[in-house]
């Protein structure tokens, strides 16, 4: 029900805003998003974006200085990193034995975590997206929990589960002689624990957005479920899998809290780059800055690679 305007006594019609007696119709046309069946638009040419920014819009008083402050607050530390970097002996710093070891270990652990996440996370995402089962929302909430959980808590929880006396760790130790804490495998486990949710939710969203009729078409051509998944579903969600994998990898690479709690800080086996940075900061600032620069470069690369996906030009 429309109500009378408290000031003007006018009843606004459904698609107009009444501003001081002047009817303003929004300038942006509403785009009917029923895609023309053929020819198909390429995804990159997608339906025109409703413009959300317009030149010369008047901001509420105080917004501009506050926004400038926010940008400065976010950018200044990164600039400091670049300014204070020991550019002259950067090559030497980069090739110092400790740095290289940490870098190599970080790559091994983070890629291992991505592999574990893909292996376990893709089937989970598929089930969450495609199968209606009891407790699906509960499962989804559990999966997302590590994203908001303080990583240190994750590390403690991992110790209680997979530690030598942990719920599953006890059994792992007895049955297979496997002990995860304070090993490289343990670092992989810690990183996968915090990073996998990013992969799961991204892939799930990709599966939901996909046109499932392609799977129907594959079935009518005689493809069983596994063939359909491998030859149709997986290629169609490849962009989502790529984005989820990159996000998962970036998170694993920067993981600190869970790793140091569960896997410790042993150079060469569990001391990944973030731990090395923290340690180096105590006695060798240049090494810390160098390692930080490397990680900043990696983060920037991920951001640039994913920019089309997350920040389409507006």
């Amino acid at each position: 029900m429309t109500m009378e305007h408290p000031l003007t006594g006018q009843r606004p019609s459904r698609d107009r805003d009444v501003h001081g007696g002047l009817a303003v119709v929004a300038g942006d046309s509403i785009v009917a998003d029923r895609a023309a069946p053929w020819p198909r638009r390429r995804p990159s040419e997608g339906a025109p974006h409703p413009r959300r920014t317009r030149p010369g819009a008047a901001a509420p008083t105080g917004f501009v200085p506050l926004a400038v402050l926010a940008v400065a607050f976010l950018a200044l530390p990164l600039m400091a990193l670049v300014v204070r970097a020991p550019w002259r002996h950067l090559p030497a710093e980069l090739t110092a034995p400790g740095v290289l070891t940490a870098l190599r270990l970080s790559l091994v652990c983070s890629l291992g975590a991505v592999a574990v996440s893909v292996l376990l996370g893709v089937p989970l995402a598929w089930l969450l997206a495609r199968v209606r089962f009891r407790g699906r929302n509960l499962v989804r909430a559990l999966v997302m929990l590590p994203m908001v959980l303080p990583p240190v808590v994750g590390g403690v929880a991992l110790l209680l589960a997979f530690g030598r006396n942990g719920l599953a760790g006890q059994w792992l130790d007895r049955a297979f002689g496997v002990s995860l804490p304070f090993t490289t495998a343990g670092a992989v486990v810690a990183e996968a624990f915090v990073a996998m949710p990013f992969l799961v939710i991204t892939v799930e969203a990709g599966l939901r957005a996909m046109d499932r009729r392609y799977e129907d078409a594959a079935a009518t051509l005689g493809a069983g479920r596994w063939t359909t998944f491998r030859r149709v579903t997986l290629p169609l969600i490849a962009p989502a899998l790529g984005a989820g994998g990159a996000l998962c990898w970036a998170r694993a690479l920067g993981e600190f809290g869970a790793t140091i709690t569960f896997a410790g800080n042993l150079p060469g086996s569990t001391q990944t780059m973030p731990l090395a940075v923290y340690l180096a900061l105590q006695n060798n600032t240049d090494a810390a800055i160098t390692l930080s620069l490397v990680m900043l470069a990696i983060s920037l690369t991920v951001l640039v690679l994913l920019r089309d996906r997350w920040f389409p030009a507006r």
């Binding site: 198909r40 009729r213 078409a217 594959a218 079935a219 051509l221 005689g222 493809a223 169609l236």
Partner: protein
């Protein structure tokens, strides 16, 4: 070659319960308005939606029997489907799209590609084998979709609105081409459309589906000359009424009476068709031979070829087809009261 199916299922607001029998290598066209359940019926036959009751028999083999709990999965049914917007796999080349079904059914990569290549050649598409589907025109995509479906040698081919995505200009050519390809296919073919021209030109048999029920089935000639629903009558441009006959008078639910030339079986439900060309319009109450005269109001006009169709509103809504000269002479464009008259001999009556 035969398909015998009774498909019953509920999906949202749709309550589908349709019986289909097809013998020989005919092209059966399923015609109906939007949301009649045509696509759902097709998907049920392909095994993409389970039946709540009924069964599907193809060449004597049970594909699905709800009562017996038998259900052959989609990938094991010898059924090819051409989907509405073709659904060519965007990440595969044209050749690999056509080879997909053969690969899925166990053929080796090389053998499948070779065979697919032959299909593309038959469709005149060899030049596009290495392209991705998005590079194809609508007509080419349709042929690739047809080749992909036929390459697996199905016994039943289902086509969902195969021409709906085409612009009007290209449709006639594509329809002829589709007709040729369907003629070469020796299995049973079921095609869904809401376009009456497509239906009339492609069908050996026509099945009209409305609100999930088959309202009429037969050859296109039968269906168009004796429509059994308002939808079909509108499609073929006839005035259709349903009423009860007494002697040669048919009484309509509205209370109006239609007088036919021939006697009708007493107290029976009948359909009455009045061709628009048989309806004459007058500005004054006509006198003389016609026994059917109804007053009304001249409504909208539209052009049909060299004639003009006048929609008369009132207790006896009728469409009349008159010459432009008559429209001018009677000033029908101004609306206002008119009388419609129809000779009894022009009226066609058949049992409901």
């Amino acid at each position: 070659m035969s398909l015998e199916a009774r498909v019953a299922l509920q999906k949202g607001l749709l309550d589908l319960d349709a019986q289909l029998t097809v013998r020989g290598s005919e092209v059966v066209v399923l015609l109906g308005p939007n949301a009649a359940g045509k696509t759902t019926l097709l998907r049920a036959l392909a095994g993409l939606i389970p039946l709540s009751s009924g069964r599907v028999l193809l060449d004597g083999t049970v594909l699905e029997d709800a009562a017996a709990g038998v259900r052959v999965s989609t990938e094991r049914r010898p059924i090819g489907v051409v989907f509405q917007d073709y659904l060519l796999f965007p990440h595969l080349t044209v050749l690999d799209n056509v080879a997909f079904g053969l690969r899925a059914r166990g053929a080796g990569r090389r053998a499948a590609r070779e065979f697919a290549g032959q299909w593309l050649e038959g469709m005149g598409l060899s030049a596009h084998a290495a392209e991705k589907p998005r590079a194809l025109s609508g007509g080419q995509a349709q042929r690739v979709a047809l080749a992909r479906a036929l390459a697996t040698d199905p016994r039943l081919l289902l086509l969902d609105e195969p021409l709906a995505a085409m612009d009007a200009g290209a449709r006639a050519d594509l329809r002829r081409e589709l007709n040729r390809h369907l003629g070469e296919f020796d299995g049973t073919c079921l095609l869904v459309t809401h376009d009456p021209i497509e239906a009339m030109t492609l069908a050996d048999q026509l099945v009209v589906l409305e609100e999930g029920r088959v309202v009429q089935a037969g050859t296109p000639e039968d269906v168009s000359s004796q429509p059994r629903s308002r939808y079909v009558a509108d499609l073929v441009g006839l005035n259709l009424f349903r009423g009860r006959g007494h002697c040669n008078v048919i009484e309509l639910p509205s209370g109006e009476r239609i007088v036919a030339a021939d006697p009708v079986a007493a107290d029976s439900e009948v359909f009455v068709v009045i061709p628009p060309r048989a309806v004459s319009l007058h500005r004054a109450n006509p006198e003389g031979s016609p026994r059917n005269v109804w007053p009304g109001t001249a409504g909208s006009l539209d052009i049909a070829g060299e004639r003009i169709r006048v929609h008369m509103t009132g207790s006896m809504p009728l469409i009349s087809e008159v010459t432009p000269a008559a429209v001018a002479a009677l000033r029908l464009g101004d609306g206002g009261p008119v009388w419609a008259s129809v000779k009894a001999v022009e009226i066609v009556v058949y049992p409901a």
